[in-house]
């Protein structure tokens, strides 16, 4: 083995060790436990307990509940009742896709439903379906 080969072997070995050092056994064990514990659960429950909803799991439960109660042919859903944030908009748009979603709009487009997160019930709207953590509403 010449100097070049020795250097290459040493650098490769150190690089491999550095990469392996990045694997935290506790993290891997936790992942294995999470996977084993959730593998039989429904997809929405797995997402509810996952990282994507960690910011606000209650809001995700509301979204999933509203999605399930959404009448067929709904043109769009305007969501009110929480401070607008990028994370809330992304998860709401994803959860309701392909149905368009607006978060806390100035006005609700004609034909759209209102998904109210929380206990407020705006005037001029009637509840079409109670959902977990809120209600789905349509114009009266």
């Amino acid at each position: 083995m010449n100097l070049r080969q020795g250097l290459a072997a040493a650098a490769s070995g150190v690089l491999l060790l550095l990469l392996l050092w990045g694997d935290d056994p506790k993290e891997l064990a936790r992942r294995a436990r999470t996977l084993a514990g959730s593998v039989g659960s429904e997809l929405a429950v797995r997402r509810l307990h996952g990282s994507g909803t960690a910011q606000d799991r209650r809001f995700f439960a509301f979204l999933e509940s509203a999605r399930r109660r959404l009448p067929a042919g709904t043109v769009g859903v305007a969501i009110t009742g929480l401070p607008p944030s990028d994370a809330a908009l992304y998860i709401a748009a994803y959860q309701f896709a392909p149905t368009p979603v607006l978060l806390d709009p100035q006005s609700v487009p004609p034909g759209w439903l209102l998904a109210v997160y929380g206990t407020a019930r705006p005037a001029g709207w009637k509840v079409v379906a109670p959902v977990w953590g809120g209600a789905l509403m349509a114009p009266t």
Partner: protein, 448 residues
Amino acid sequence: MEGLWRPLAEVAVILLAGAAIGCGLAGAFLTAAAGRTERAAWGFAIGLALLAASAPLAFAARRPPREMALLLGALAVGGAFLLRHRRGKDAAQGRRRGGVRALLTRPGILLLPLVAFGAAVFALRALTEPMWSNDYIAIWGFKGKTIFGAGGVPRRLFADPALGFSHPEYPLGLPFLYASLSFLLGRWDDHAMALLFPFLQAATLLALFGWLRRRGVTPTIALFAAALLANFGPLYSALHTGMGDIPFAFVSLLFGTALVDALDQIDPMAVRRLALATVLAVSTKNEGTLLAAAGAFLCLASRGWARRASRGAAAAIVAPAVSLLLAGRLWKGALPLRDFDLALLGPTLILELLPRVAEAIHTAFREVILPSWPGLLCIAVLIAAGRSAPAGNRLLALAILCCLAYLLAPSLAALGPDWLIRTSFARTVCALAPLAAAAIASRLKIEG
């Protein structure tokens, strides 16, 4: 209530069937000199390309997407049989490198478990929970789910200002792949579909090992490169599962290896591979256009540009890239790059640009390069310890050109260079790891 195992098995069957069909067609892109590993990798790429193409073809032909996927699969199987019949006699000849026999040596037996360990760790990370990263939810998954749910591509994906967060200007290759998989599955399952990513990692490792062996790199070095790449956590992470970076890492390796094969005139099919890899790269991420531009630049810069090989390679890159970009422009309309302010390139604002370049470089050093100096030092030593080899040098040049573009492009960021470097530089550079691994390994040792 349905758990994970059944949909996971269904996704696995679809991906394996796609790979098997693709392998049958790989003969149109690889000569008999290619080993099984490289053939499997290209086969997987072809299978995924067919699967992803089935959705837009179905929409255009107004046929059910599932029916179109099955039809394309049947046509591909027919094509594979014809190809096999035509090339039957010479198919078994010339296969000497890249096969699995090379793994059954002492170093192979020591290194294979390391590759398997890296693959198992990534599979665990990818499959722990439904795909969740911000960019998956807001961009890739959102578009895929919208296309699947709408049974088409709603115009609002490009035209609705409220959907600007989903980056309408990004290519739709990955969303089409998600939608096509879901059409075959019959439902949207964003946990089972995560299996695509360990498959992509495996295909990348096969492509790396197979190409290195075909180009005369010893089995030990080829396998060590695969072991390092398999354990490269910054790319193969839970965060990147669902995003475009892991697919792009795969296709950029296919592009780079096809490019150097075409320039070195290794085999007559290299130009076809290069054209296919260009289509895949440009359809996967906007960085694919940069990669294609860098590849075309290398063709121009290569000694003897007048040589037919350089011109052929440049044409194989430019023709599909320009066609795809024009088709996208006609279909989607003019969509600005949301993260960038190209007015900074204008004459009045050029003075603002230089401080921004300095800020981008400073942030990259502070946030990415300095914290990872031990690993980068090892890579620098590996590059220095290598010997000049045309293929390795070109791959290295391709990776360095892309790195420089990723470093300097944030100077034009609308929200400032600091922001874009922090959010994307490490991620995009990590996707060049397979390309860099191929470059470094091919410069280290070549069999006599």
